[in-house]
């Protein structure tokens, strides 16, 4: 299990390092996620030592973390108490942007998916 925890932390650390060194405006953990995905895909050929039981541990640790994912947003979410004036000054623009942008994204994404599936089916 510690191996799986180490793998997650090591991927995050590598992601943070790459983001800093290359001055990328992308969060380190996102790069860590990409790295872990690549490691999992390359596992068979490049990492024969990454055995089945270790993958099981990784599934377990990831499952536990993701099952409690929402809780982890609470500390940052409480920070909204420092943003009261920002919300008061910009609420109308924010509400219109959220509503309109959500409706348009839903429609466009669904339509493109359907249209391309039909084009390929022909």
């Amino acid at each position: 299990m510690l191996g799986a925890v180490f793998l997650l932390l090591a991927c995050q650390m590598a992601g943070e390092a790459v983001a800093r060194v290359l001055a990328l405006p992308v969060p380190g953990p996102v790069l860590g996620m990409v790295l872990l995905f690549v490691l999992l895909a390359a596992r068979g050929a490049a990492m024969p030592a990454f055995r089945r039981d270790e993958l099981g541990h990784l599934n377990g640790v990831s499952g536990t973390l993701l099952a409690n994912f929402s809780l982890m947003f609470l500390p940052a979410g409480v920070g909204i108490i420092q943003q009261g004036h920002v919300l008061a000054d910009n609420w109308l623009g924010l509400v219109v942007a959220i509503v309109v942008s959500s409706l348009v994204s839903l429609a466009v994404t669904g339509w493109v998916f359907l249209a391309v599936s039909r084009m390929l089916a022909r």
Binding site: G28, L94, A107
Partner: protein, 246 residues
């Protein structure tokens, strides 16, 4: 000293011990979420009864009522906050496990992902910009459709505010989870893969949870959309903000 005074004195000692230690706000954070989650379960996971939103209201109320500075609250809550990083990395695991489903519908999926992601970011940024919102607000709004961990990281990386981004993401998720399914029904997007993908892209985990209630295939594609859109958004938000001259 009578008993009452002893109890009062005891409570005072306990309070004096707890306030500077991180234990108090760490316990409150975990306890409030556990309570909010029970309330949400009792309300049959209605999208409006979002446990995170309820927990934020409870904890923020307590922090404000006790006159606690946010920095003091965070000194305790940071032990929960730190887990966000490894949990975000862990998103690669379910994504990797659904790789076969992704490969089967790869081309429509990638087309919908790229178009949907660009439309989602540019429309939100464009509207807020037209309303004259300051750059910090626009930067916090740009990643509104992706899972909170990624949106908070993206917002901070481009000059936004993590807490504002988290609030916007939760509101977007609640809205998309309520409106998405009936709206796509009316627009005749009835293929569960297409419908789930659209809802997952627009409303991240909350939309995904809503899809799983109706159709496992829609839920799976919503989860895939959430993961892929999170990654793509992290790379596209800086580009879109740059195009708007910000």
């Amino acid at each position: 000293m009578n008993t009452l005074q002893t109890v009062r004195g005891g409570l005072g000692v306990v309070w004096v011990y707890l306030v500077p230690s991180p234990l108090l706000w760490l316990t409150v954070t975990v306890g409030a979420y556990a309570l909010a989650d029970r309330i949400a379960a009792a309300l049959r996971r209605h999208p409006l009864a979002n446990p995170l939103l309820m927990a934020i209201v409870m904890v923020a109320g307590l922090v404000v009522a006790t006159g606690t500075p946010y920095a003091d609250y965070f000194a305790g809550a940071q032990f929960v906050h730190v887990l966000l990083g490894p949990a975000t990395v862990a998103l690669a695991v379910p994504l990797w496990r659904s790789r076969k489903t992704v490969l089967r519908a790869l081309i429509p999926l990638l087309a919908a992902l790229v178009v949907g992601c660009v439309v989602s970011i540019t429309s939100a940024v464009g509207i807020a910009w037209a309303f004259g919102a300051p750059r910090m607000v626009i930067a916090s709004l740009a990643p509104k459709s992706v899972t909170t961990a990624i949106s908070m990281g993206v917002a901070e990386a481009v000059g936004g505010n993590a807490a504002l981004a988290a609030t916007i993401v939760i509101i977007t998720g609640i809205f998309g989870a309520i409106v998405g399914w009936p709206m796509l029904e009316r627009l005749r997007v009835r293929d569960p893969a297409a419908r789930g993908f659209a809802i997952g892209l627009a409303a991240h985990g909350m939309g995904t949870a809503r899809c799983f209630q109706s159709d496992p295939m829609a839920g799976t594609f919503a989860g895939i959309a959430m993961g892929l859109n999170g990654m793509l958004t992290a790379f596209l938000v800086p580009v879109v903000l740059h195009l708007f001259g910000m």
